[in-house]
């Protein structure tokens, strides 16, 4: 099995592991891109191919296919933000977000969905953002699909996803076969730990190699600390290496100077860098309105083995409840991959109760419901703050409105799981038990306390914090990602989204990045 990254490095791609640097150093390029995920990776390829010199910065390390181990105990500390231990300020919601070259695209579950039309309509109405007609993202969805081999998954869904499909069929609920960005996928089920076969068309194996091939420099294990700026110009970026646990070091100082800076650190780290830099913030929205698609979980026991760890982790979703007629919080139904650490840590309880459920591991089917936040006055998201170490922490209040949505989601998941043939269903909530019929579950769920720490909550999608808006008073950047106050700064990542999406974000981010990097390239070539 070849490793295209190791092969490229052997033939001279420019990569610096900042953790090996022992002296202060200054770097210069036309453009410095901070972050190598969906936004940064896509931008790097487009700008290098436009003939611009590019430096890519990444806080994580340069791991590639021959490094990836199909073990969570290796993958989580090395490939995820905060060792996959990232949580909201009150520790109520666990946040899975990538931190490695390729960002979350290296560890995501490959689900590729175009921005839903109602979301675009909402952006137009609320933020004056027009992505219709000539401004349509459709050509960019098509380009991204071509570049990243995005197509409908032709292989039958694994039993975990098949249960979702079967439940929908039996209830007459809507479902969709998922499009995935894979090429030569062996249907293993280990997308979340880095693809060992280079089948997932993440930034790590597509745009970043292309940028490196075209002469870009990649600096890994570096933490961007602060922009130095004056008036409407960024003068330089101050950065430091990180240690073997990815913690910023203060021993060596690195300076990056560029004509233009592209911020692509994701919806928590990008606002944090701007907050540390105390950049102008007249709209008051910097770091605010951060959305999570907060998700509740429901487990079900089936007579036949489900083995949710094997096979494409996500191949079916249901939008039956994502756009309700009333103003209640909509939710999308999906399934997660079921691996031992993810399951053991999310499953409630301890001792014999927990051990007993773990012994039924292969018979456990798991559903998640992702709430669509950001579309209602009572779901205005969270706020990125800085802790005493200057690191970001997301304060995300859970409102009654969201809790009501979560209760509806528990009900929908249990109904679906029974309709799919489950013998028993257990909402993942401290006060829930295994219920053996839909009637029993329905009554019990109605009585579950809707409280922080009682419900197991998770997020794999972080959005907002540097939101785009047609109106400078309501946003941090414009529709092209250009910062409203700093002329040589663009933000191209999930932080620009002015609401959650109601869909998994990667394809929206690829399309937006392609569009805005094209515009930036034209502007810089002038």
């Amino acid at each position: 099995m070849n490793d295209p990254i190791k092969a490229g490095l052997a033939k001279g791609w420019r990569h610096i592991d900042a953790a090996t640097l022992t002296e202060d150093q200054q770097f210069e390029a036309d453009v410095v891109i901070i972050g190598t995920g969906a936004g940064g990776g896509m931008t790097a390829e487009i700008l290098t191919q436009a003939g611009l010199s590019v430096i890519m910065l990444e806080q994580g390390a340069l791991w590639s296919s021959s490094d990836f181990r199909q073990q969570e105990r290796w993958a989580y500390p090395h490939l995820y933000q905060d060792g996959a231990g990232r949580k909201t300020k009150d520790q109520a919601i666990a946040i899975l977000q990538g931190r490695t070259v390729g960002g979350s695209t290296t560890v995501n579950w490959t689900t590729s969905i175009r921005t839903p039309k109602p979301t675009l309509d909402y952006w137009q109405a609320e933020f004056g953002l027009d992505f219709s007609g000539e401004q349509s993202l459709a050509p960019y969805f098509a380009k991204a699909a071509g570049r990243l081999h995005i197509s409908e998954w032709q292989v039958p869904p694994n039993p975990n996803n098949a249960a979702l499909k079967r439940g929908c069929e039996n209830l007459g609920w809507q479902y969709t076969v998922i499009e995935r960005n894979v090429h030569g996928c062996a249907n293993l089920g280990y997308c979340g730990m880095g693809c060992p076969l280079n089948a997932k068309q993440s930034m790590l194996v597509t745009t970043i190699p292309a940028a490196l091939e075209a002469g870009a420099l990649l600096v890994s294990r570096v933490s961007a600390r602060k922009f130095q700026w004056r008036g409407d110009q960024i003068l330089q970026l101050d950065a430091v290496p990180v240690d073997q646990h990815y913690q910023p070091l203060s021993s060596v100082k690195l300076r990056f100077k560029a004509r233009h800076y592209v911020l692509a650190g994701g919806a928590i780290n990008s606002p944090a860098l701007l907050l540390r830099s105390k950049v102008p913030n007249p709209s008051g929205r910097l770091g605010k309105h951060t959305y999570l698609h907060p998700s509740v979980i429901s487990g079900a026991l089936f007579r036949d083995a489900v083995s949710g760890h094997a096979g494409a982790p996500q191949s079916i979703y249901s939008d039956q409840f994502v756009w309700p007629k009333g103003d209640e919080a909509g939710f999308k139904l999906e399934v997660p991959p079921v691996h031992p650490v993810l399951m053991a840590s999310k499953l409630t309880g301890m001792a014999e109760l927990h051990a007993g459920m773990m012994q039924k591991f292969n018979h456990l089917q798991v559903m998640i419901a992702l709430l669509r936040d950001g579309f209602h006055p009572d779901a205005q998201g969270g706020e990125v703050q800085l802790d005493a170490h200057g690191e970001p922490v997301l304060d995300y209040p859970l409102t009654d409105y969201l809790w009501r949505g979560m209760q509806q989601a528990y009900l929908a998941m249990a109904e679906l799981q029974f309709a799919a043939g489950a013998e028993a269903v257990m909402p993942v909530h401290q006060d829930a038990m295994l219920y053996s019929s839909w009637q029993q579950a329905k009554t019990a769920i109605a009585g579950l306390p809707l409280k922080t720490y009682r419900a197991a909550l998770a997020s794999a999608h972080v959005m907002g914090g540097c939101n785009m808006s047609g109106d400078a008073a309501k946003g941090v950047v414009d529709a092209n990602g250009s910062h409203y106050q700093l002329q040589n700064l663009s933000v191209i990542d999930g932080s620009v989204l002015p609401s959650s999406l109601g869909a998994n974000p990667q394809l929206t981010l690829y399309a937006l990045a392609w569009r805005n990097a094209d515009l930036l390239a034209a502007r810089l070539r002038g």
């Binding site: 905060d82 840590s345 927990h354």
Partner: protein, 170 residues
């Protein structure tokens, strides 16, 4: 939580806030050793309780699983943000000191001297406490310890789970 315990917790929290910074100046080597000892003490007491029913039956395997899991937790902690590390260290410290432990647990005995049943009752009381701090402690420790245990391939047999290996091509 009973009223007496709540008052004691207030005292303990006050004492920690007043002295916490001087107790843990800034991660010197001596502090790190002390912190590891505090953490190990708490982990060694809680692991056999939380993992009851999961741990291997044979005495030697049982001990090995406990030691490896304690080590897995200690190896993982440095990957957490410094803020979270400090919060956990604070908890380990409070549980290792007699006065504050009394407040948090309602027992004068060290955690390791309580019966497994008492340790589980203690964890349940945190889970159901109306104090955010204790609910966070329950959730945080529970996740940390269970993740460390089930991260080890040696413990996958009970799950009938195996992971593919692709490292042969190196």
């Amino acid at each position: 939580m009973q009223r007496r315990q709540f008052i004691m917790l207030g005292l303990a929290a006050g004492a920690t806030l007043a002295t916490g910074l001087t107790l843990y100046p800034m991660f010197s080597e001596a502090d790190k050793t002390q912190q590891q000892q505090d953490a190990s003490l708490v982990l060694d007491a809680l692991l056999p309780a939380i993992l009851l029913g999961a741990l291997p039956k044979g005495e030697a395997e049982h001990q090995e699983a406990l030691q490896n899991t304690r080590q897995a937790v200690l190896d993982y902690l440095p990957f957490l943000p410094k803020r979270q590390q400090a919060e956990l260290q604070q908890l380990f410290f409070l549980l290792s000191q007699q006065l504050t432990r009394l407040a948090l647990t309602g027992h004068l005995l060290a955690l390791g001297e309580l019966s497994l049943e008492q340790r589980l009752q203690l964890l349940s009381s945190w889970r159901d406490s109306y104090l955010t701090l204790l609910q966070q402690a329950y959730n945080g420790l529970r996740e940390l310890l269970l993740a460390a245990y089930y991260g080890q391939p040696a413990h996958w047999q009970a799950l009938a789970y195996t992971a593919p290996e692709f490292r042969a091509y190196e």
